[in-house]
Subunit: 138 residues, 3 copies
């Protein structure tokens, strides 16, 4: 049994900022000394999510536009009455996208496609210090 606990911390700009964390996750997997297993990534916080995407500027625009269409920022949110943070849309988007992603690795390599990157998506309406909890199991 092997459990290797780690985390990634970084600054995010918020407002739909999409951050490519692939190389950091790949390094953590390589340095774990484990050959085959899974890496479980979990977004700590309720206004951001995690997924995979082809990290290409035009596509990132499309992804952002999709959120603006499907879960708009500028419609009434009850949550904005609770704390006055104006980030009701951020929470709803984050819950929709999801906070966890789990990926197999084989011979120390993540089983990602060639044009598939792991991304953290910050939906909050301001810059934030962010953390992703990481557990490697094998």
């Amino acid at each position: 049994m092997t459990v290797v606990t780690n985390e990634i911390t970084f600054q995010s700009k918020g407002n739909g900022d999409v951050i490519d964390i692939t190389s950091q996750v790949a390094r953590i997997v390589e340095e774990s000394g484990v050959n085959n297993g899974i890496v479980n990534l979990f977004v700590v916080g309720s206004t951001a999510g995690i997924t995979t995407v082809e990290y290409e500027p035009n596509l990132l625009s499309d992804f952002k536009n999709m959120w603006d269409r499907v879960i708009p920022q500028h419609i009434p949110y009850e949550h904005n009455k609770t704390w006055g943070d104006g980030n009701g849309h951020s929470h709803v988007r984050a819950s929709m996208l999801g906070a966890s992603l789990t990926i197999p690795f084989v011979n120390k390599r993540l089983t990602l496609g060639t044009w598939q990157q792991i991304v953290f998506v910050d939906f909050d309406n301001r810059p934030r210090s962010r953390k992703i909890a990481i557990q490697i199991l094998a």
Copy 2:
């Protein structure tokens, strides 16, 4: 190698009912006797999903309103011709949200944010007995 199998069962009201299961999951993790690992939560059934959210009444309204806007109940669904259950929207919402959530824990503590709860979302159109399958690995 440690695998601890468990489950949570409860009654849900359906119709978008959002149930906070954080304390139950936290207790199962603590009582597993394992210090560091992951907990894999899986919704048994095809009309409910799982995610994380700040469990705050106004935000729960916003979350429910989002589903009513994005995947409305009262539009035609072919599935409603199959069984006559009228829950076509419930299935589509559940498949969109997702049935699995996997979370690291460290020193017996889930790596959740301060305002981040684990929630079961019942999209069915009637009260149901529900089950979440749980596997702890370390």
Copy 3:
């Protein structure tokens, strides 16, 4: 500690093709020789996703219609200027649905509901050879 690495490969038609992979995953779990654990499924590629659904033809139509409504194919996508593939909508849908699914199994049986199947959803706009990376842990 047990890690069993596997994969599923198949041909997909693309264009929202929903492929039931439940029996293949169940067989891989049974043949792993492991009684209790988790199976982590990961979509290799950035234009497809994975979820669970009641695999019933009418519902599959509803699911496809939902994607056409929520993330339409025939609106402008910046990504379509990058490669000229015309699959901007495919990428955005895939990132929204998610690439990973993790399911507990107990006594060699997946903890699925009676009417709950594991499905691969191909959003690309052409037939593709596809792969799902699989890691069983126990």
